[in-house]
Symmetry: C2
Subunit: 344 residues, 2 copies
DNA sequence: TTGAAAGCGCTAACAC
DNA sequence: GTGTTAGCGCTTTCAA
């Protein structure tokens, strides 16, 4: 493999000039530049990124750390959307994306530290999981770069991109109330698994109920792990405990699928239970085009996190956190009630 | 950040001894080793991976290159399964995984070359897409490391991990024939988009028909891009052209979803069309537990590809290609025909 | 506008 | 079992 010195020799210039052509080419005489470029072409020279990294003390890599054990990971569609957003942004500005999903959740944060201290990456994007407040303390103490996908502790002011689901859930609840529903379930997100600093879905739900003068029954709310299985189980137990349940709001699309499956398995008809989806993912829209949905800007969240980590790396300072909003999308419900088609 | 020299100084040994403790610690006296480890601990020393890479001429990174433009990518569940398999293997043996999904498909292969020549990665995993035969030629000429997820040209003998869907599709077709179906559609995989070297699904399909003495009608076969949309469109046109169609085999699970949606939208009942899924993904099993399915060992394929690229990097030679098999899973069909529940 | 020389942090020969 | 030294391929003062 040709090195920069080979190019310099062939072009009869110094190594530094080649380096200049590679990086800050406007400081080089055009004629010299052409000679260098020709030599590069001729030798099929590709700069050794590792050597440049060593000298610059910059890996040009971002780590995306997933704390769930890898079989959850690559199957959770929201995480994929966040990953995609991050990928698209950081690759646009010249960073590579390293993904790491330690097999054991507890190793994830250590892995994040290792990657960063090793200089394998210039900064990491982290999910809020248990123990992350300690890890953030260490990142800050050592002046390492990180961004979190959510607020990880009460006083966190910087370096996060979070989504506030309060508005989406408020609108969803209000909509269901306006249709006449009075027993509305909420399959909420987990508070043991992740480390969320506030209960936004619940807040929106309770506020809408309160405004309508409807009593809030805690037993109508169940926490789940965002997964299909949890959607399935929690819906079943919810409906069994509340036979008069007529509507349910799901915290995620996989939970929505589980709920739909549970509805079918329980022998309920579509118009007995109205389901609101949690993420508004493309697949959900295609599979179940009648479902109204809370929107979850996962792609945007990942993208903003990518942008933030790149800025933090370049500026060398912390950056105030960003909160993204949610909305609610109504889809045509008439279609459901008159549909007699059976899907599978 | 502490360097190896700082550790050496604190432990009162030479840099090389520290390096030995880090890498080949059995060659160091236990007492010395403990002193070094104590110094490492005390300084919170983390070896600079970039410096080691430069010296060793080894990045310890694998590139996973996705050639579809990133919005296809992180949404195709099979690709995610392959990625997961690769991730799990390579991270187990100490490699980092870099994923790259150039926004334009045509850039993907150049990106693969760039990453490798730059030394950003030690080797790449590639999908068979148009023009890949040329790229492979260049990889081989320059002695660069690659593995392909499928056979990319007729004479390819090495460095691939492919899946042969002939058996799975043969069994699926045979099964449908045994149930009395005579007009069986095949929503086949694409041949313009990827670069597959053989038409395995079609082979299995035709063989089963032939053995049963049933005529093979080319118009019962449609190519699709593995996507929901293609499943939807192709099924519609298939059924419109062949009103006597009673069963269909889908090349992928997203196509299966599209087909199911089309069936619902066309006002057909479940027992009028029997659908065979293409991948047997967990989500499909959960959403549509009644569907029989061809199995697609995507995770295993990704894992094997990871294993192969690591071996190729370590051995420095090419490795004979591997072909993975497919099967067919029958699920309880009675449940379908008697089910009157409506899913959404 | 260009070049000479030092050095990023580690590892590999080769000595002892 | 341990140390000395050179050098991976680049960038960066500093000088010309």
């Amino acid at each position: 493999m040709a090195t920069l010195y080979d190019v310099a020799k062939l072009a009869r210039v110094s190594p530094k000039t080649v380096s200049r052509v590679l990086n800050e080419s406007h400081l080089v005489a055009e004629e010299t530049r052409q000679r260098v470029l020709a030599a590069i072409e001729k030798l099929d020279y590709h700069p050794n990124a590792i050597a440049a990294s060593l000298k610059r003390n910059r890996a040009n890599k971002i780590g995306f750390i997933i704390p769930y054990g890898s079989d959850f990971v690559f199957q959770d569609p929201n995480m994929m959307e966040q990953l995609r957003g991050t990928h698209d942004y950081v690759s646009m500005v010249g960073f590579e994306l390293i993904i790491s999903a330690p097999l054991h959740k507890k190793d994830a944060l250590q892995e994040a530290l290792r990657l960063t201290k090793n200089r394998n990456v210039d900064g990491v994007i982290l999910y809020p999981s248990n123990g992350i407040d300690q890890i953030i303390k260490e990142f800050r103490a050592k002046n390492l770069r990180y961004v979190t996908l959510g607020i990880c502790y009460d006083q966190q002011k910087n370096n996060f991109v979070e989504v506030d689901q309060t508005p989406g859930c408020y609108l969803a609840t209000k909509y269901l109330l306006s249709l006449g529903h009075r027993r509305i379930g909420l399959l909420n997100k987990p508070y043991s698994f992740f480390m969320f600093s506030r209960d936004d879905l619940l807040n929106g739900y309770v506020r809408a109920l309160h405004e309508a003068g409807i009593e809030y029954l805690p037993s109508l709310v169940r926490e789940g792990n965002f997964t299909f299985e949890d959607g399935y189980e929690k819906f079943r137990s919810l409906k069994e405990e509340h036979p008069d349940l007529t509507a349910v709001i799901c915290a995620s699309d996989p939970m929505t699928y589980g709920t739909i499956r549970a509805i079918a398995d329980m022998g309920l008809k579509t118009d007995e239970i109205q389901v609101v989806a949690g993420d508004n993912l493309p697949l959900t829209q295609k599979l179940f085009p009648q479902l109204s949905s809370i929107t979850n800007p996962s792609y945007e969240q990942g993208k903003q996190a990518g942008k933030m980590i790149v800025n933090i790396i370049n500026e060398g300072t912390e950056i105030p956190g960003v909160t993204l909003n949610t909305e609610f999308v109504v889809r045509n419900m008439q279609a459901i009630n008159h549909r007699e088609n059976i899907i599978v």
